[in-house]
């Protein structure tokens, strides 16, 4: 199946929420849509599902051409949708939920096995745990053999422990079904680990659409850089393709910034080492235990900028301690035009 979205706009009443969205999806590719709350993720899915009308632009699914003038009702679109709150039919047991509109039950049987629900065949939804509910919802959608899957934060109602394992269960199931999927999430880790491609949304606009690696390593904008993990920015002087920083000169790639002069470099916690050496160049503000490692915030003596650094959990620096910070990134750093803000956490 082939999904093509052209200049799609959608919203509620007067308010346009999604603007001028373009994307293509094919084969069994999984596209992860991430973005802060209210950026329009669910709106996009609702529009694709036909729950929300198209304001302008066009959606093509195989031979279907959906526009404002030609709205196709949900039941005609051959899509499967998985909801945040599962939306299981409370009056039907697991089997009946999964086989809601199916004549031959072989599909039901198949997905019940694939998702390990054998022992809950006859259970009523309200007796299931969150994880089980979500697997039933997935099985229900897949059993009806959609040609496109839409998942709206399928994991956000589940607890951390479950998220981690179920995320892979779902991915494998989608791949087995061999249908393309648009998967909406809040969680950048989820997006980057699961997705074949990741689309980062900001206020209804698609900021970047690329493989997780590219999005992370070559963010097309500050927003993307900040959204996909702890980013700090380090002021520097650009000349040719190197930059002078308080921590010495480093190779850079200019993303959007003047050819030379004042810029800011994107630095990630793993681009540094932190050591207790003779000549310190920074001061520790706080450090947080993360289990495997420890995240520290340090203030450069020169310039007084603050950056985040990740260190092994064996290093245990005390706040206020003088430390030595060095850049170890072997890859060139991304350069952006200078802005007021230091690093700040994504959204909220």
């Amino acid at each position: 199946m082939k999904l093509e979205i052209d200049k799609l706009c959608a919203g509620y009443g007067k308010a346009t929420v999604v603007e001028n969205l373009n994307l293509k999806l094919e084969g069994n590719e999984i596209l992860m849509l991430v973005g802060p709350t209210g950026c329009g993720k669910s709106t996009i899915l609702r529009t694709l599902a036909g729950i929300l009308p198209v304001t302008s632009g066009e959606i093509r699914m195989n031979d279907l051409r959906i526009t404002k003038g030609n709205p196709v009702p949900p039941e005609k679109r051959h899509i499967g949708m998985v909801f945040q709150d599962f939306a299981l039919f409370p009056h039907l047991n697991v089997e009946k939920n999964i086989g809601f509109r199916l004549r031959d039950k072989s599909e039901v049987k198949h997905w019940i096995e694939v998702l390990g629900l054998e022992s809950h065949r006859r259970a009523m939804p309200q007796t299931l745990s969150g994880g089980q509910k979500q697997r039933v919802a997935l099985a229900r959608a897949l059993a009806h053999q959609p040609s496109l899957m839409l998942l709206d934060e399928p994991l956000s109602n589940l607890d951390a422990a479950l998220k981690d394992s179920l995320r892979w269960t779902i991915r494998d199931a989608l791949k087995e079904a061999g249908v393309p999927a648009v998967w909406v999430t809040h969680d950048q880790d989820e997006a980057m680990s699961i997705g074949d491609r990741v689309g980062i949304l900001n206020q209804g606009k698609l900021e970047q659409l690329d493989t997780p690696e590219n999005c992370f390593e070559h963010p097309s904008s500050r927003f993307v850089a900040e959204f996909l993990g702890d980013a700090s920015f380090l002021s520097a002087q650009l000349q040719e393709n190197r930059a002078d920083t308080p921590l010495g000169s480093v190779p850079v790639i200019a993303v959007d910034c003047p050819p030379s002069g004042d810029i800011q470099l994107l630095v990630r916690p793993d681009d540094f080492t932190l050591t207790e050496s003779a000549e310190p160049n920074a001061q520790l503000i706080w450090s947080r235990f993360e289990g495997g490692s420890r995240l520290c915030k340090v203030k450069l003596n020169e310039g007084g900028e603050e950056v985040k650094v990740r260190v092994s959990h064996e290093v245990q620096p005390a706040p206020g301690e003088a430390v030595r910070l060095d850049v170890i990134a072997s890859h060139p750093l991304m350069a952006f035009r200078r802005e007021g803000g230091h690093s700040c956490p994504p959204a909220s």
Partner: protein, 534 residues
């Protein structure tokens, strides 16, 4: 407009039903023509009495119904469900029966005095009418409030308590305000019931609109009766508007609060419960028992019971079917809510008035058919082909059922709307993405989830139909005796003993109806709270 209707077919249906509901009022208007309109101080006295009785009854019902709702909704009591059913059964007792037994039981030389020796104050006038009306209509408030309470998230009470507010304080400050809707809905039904009941005011000697209507009607002053009815309906409209303006925030339901009172607490809380039940159900049955013993039962033909059951079940069935589109429309828009209000009018129209109106409508329809069949033979052939012979509508079960439906539809609409509002919209979206069209979704998802309301609504209509008298007398087919007509027949000739068995059956059947209704409620709670469970 047409697109709009095609988008909301339920609007079209409920519009039709609303028009039907208005038809009787049109008839009243036709009948009232020519009656000299006088607003003597009589009229004002009647108005005053009517308003007073309505007000006191509503207040009384809230005072009794709400605490009992709290008790049965949140406290674990022994024989919980039995108590709930017992507390709702007064709905089954025709208020004129209750009124008459109270009238006969209390006061000097009353049955109770003969029984226990001490003289109790007489039951009459505003006080008496209030007591009786309250006892036989508080279950409306009780049931709606209880349903609302069980839908609330109990955690919020815990939150209030951890903030240092005592349990009663929490119930008062954070629970009561959130069940305003439920209380209001119940009070509305109480108010309408009070406005339209004529038995009690008549027996308690309180000159209300219904009594005036009754007197005029019996004195063959049909036009003046109709005039009074129109004035009464104006009051009904006022009440409806008042309730309409009274809406509080909707919220999503959660795990219901559950309290484990101490032994003493249980005993203490069961006292009022038992007291109410004894007064509302026990006393009448006792009095009937006495008369039964004194005068003998006479012979009772069980076909009568079967007749009552049959017609009540049909009415209940038809009512919920008709109620579905109206309730649905009410959940999707303002227009729907408005149409719903119109339907509510029916419950405020006294049975005798509704009956008279339908006699005219039925006859009119019948006459038209005859005229048509005389004018062109096709009609006659058609009628013969379908084996239709006179009477077509007038004095048939059909017309009787129509009357019941027009009067008691609001009961079904209210309960069904309440459950529809609770259904999660994504449920519908999910079904549609699975390829189900609108109608299939309605049949396979919405309907089953609304089943609780449907069952409850059907039960309420069933109860009301069981105890309805005036319209039944006017509209039933010849020879079609029901429990209430039987009771009327013997009671108003003074053979009280013979009213005992039908009275008992009435209460019995209705109790069964209530049991079914509450069973449905249980199941529905499980379904609708599925998020919170697990």
């Amino acid at each position: 407009m047409t697109r709009w209707l095609s988008r909301y077919p339920s609007y079209l249906l409920s519009a039709v039903i609303a028009v039907l509901a208005l038809a009787p009022i049109a008839v009243l208007y036709y009948l009232a023509k020519g009656a000299e309109v006088y607003f003597s101080e009589e009229t004002w006295r009647i108005l005053k009495n009517t308003l007073l009785l309505t007000a006191t009854t509503v207040v009384g019902s809230i005072v009794i119904g709400v605490p009992l709702a709290f008790l049965t909704a949140y406290c674990k009591l022994p024989l919980q469900r039995l108590w709930v059913i017992a507390l709702a059964t007064p709905l089954a007792m025709p208020s004129y029966l209750g009124a008459f037994t109270f009238y006969a039981a209390f006061g000097k030389g009353g049955e109770l005095e003969k029984l226990i020796g001490l003289t109790l104050p007489r039951m009459e006038g505003l006080a008496g009418a209030t007591v009786v009306m309250t006892l036989y209509s508080y279950p409306f408030v009780f049931l709606t409030t209880r349903a609302a309470l069980r839908g609330l998230d109990g955690n919020i009470v815990n939150a209030a308590r951890t903030l240092g507010l005592s349990l009663p304080g929490s119930l008062w400050r954070v629970v009561l305000p959130r069940v305003r809707n439920g209380i209001a809905a119940g009070s509305l039904l109480v108010a309408l019931y009070t406005l339209s009941d004529f038995g009690t005011p008549a027996i308690m000697q309180l000159d209300t609109f219904t009594r005036a209507i009754f007197v005029e009607y019996n004195a063959f002053g049909l036009d003046r009766a109709a005039l009074f009815s129109l004035q009464l309906i104006f009051l009904v409209v006022v009440v409806l508007v008042a309730e309409f303006c009274f809406r509080s925030v909707r919220e999503n339901s959660g795990h219901c609060l559950s309290l484990q009172p101490s032994r003493a607490g249980v005993a203490f809380s069961l006292i009022p419960v038992a007291g109410i039940v004894a007064l509302a159900i026990g006393l009448p049955l006792l009095i009937f028992g006495i008369w039964l013993k004194r005068e003998g039962a006479g012979d009772f033909d069980q076909i009568i019971a079967w007749n009552s059951l049959k017609v009540s079940l049909i009415a209940a069935g038809v009512a919920v079917i008709v109620a579905l589109p109206v309730a649905y429309a009410a959940t999707i828009g303002k227009v729907g809510r408005f149409l719903e209000r119109i339907v509510y009018l029916g419950y405020g129209v006294p049975g005798i008035v509704m009956g008279t109106a339908l006699v005219y409508l039925g006859l009119r329809a019948e006459a038209e058919i005859y005229k048509a069949s005389e004018e062109n033979p096709e009609v006659t052939q058609f009628l013969e082909k379908w084996g239709l012979e006179e009477p077509f509508l007038y004095q048939t079960l059909a017309l009787l059922v129509i009357a019941y439906v027009l009067r008691f539809l609001p009961l079904a609409v209210g309960t069904i709307r309440a459950t529809l509002e609770k259904i999660d919209g994504n449920m519908v979206h999910a079904a549609r993405t699975l390829g189900a069209g609108r109608s299939e979704v309605f049949l396979r998802v919405t309907m089953p989830l609304a089943m609780r309301g449907i069952v409850a609504g059907a039960a309420l209509v069933f109860l009301e139909t069981m105890r309805e008298l005036p319209a039944t007398l006017l509209l039933r087919p010849n020879e079609y005796e029901t429990l209430t007509t039987e009771i009327w027949l013997v009671y108003e000739a003074g053979y009280f003993g013979r009213a005992a068995i039908p009275g008992l059956l009435l209460v019995l059947f209705s109790a069964i109806g209530l049991a079914i209704m509450l069973a449905g409620e249980r199941r529905a709670e499980k379904l609708l709270l599925h998020q919170e469970e697990s």
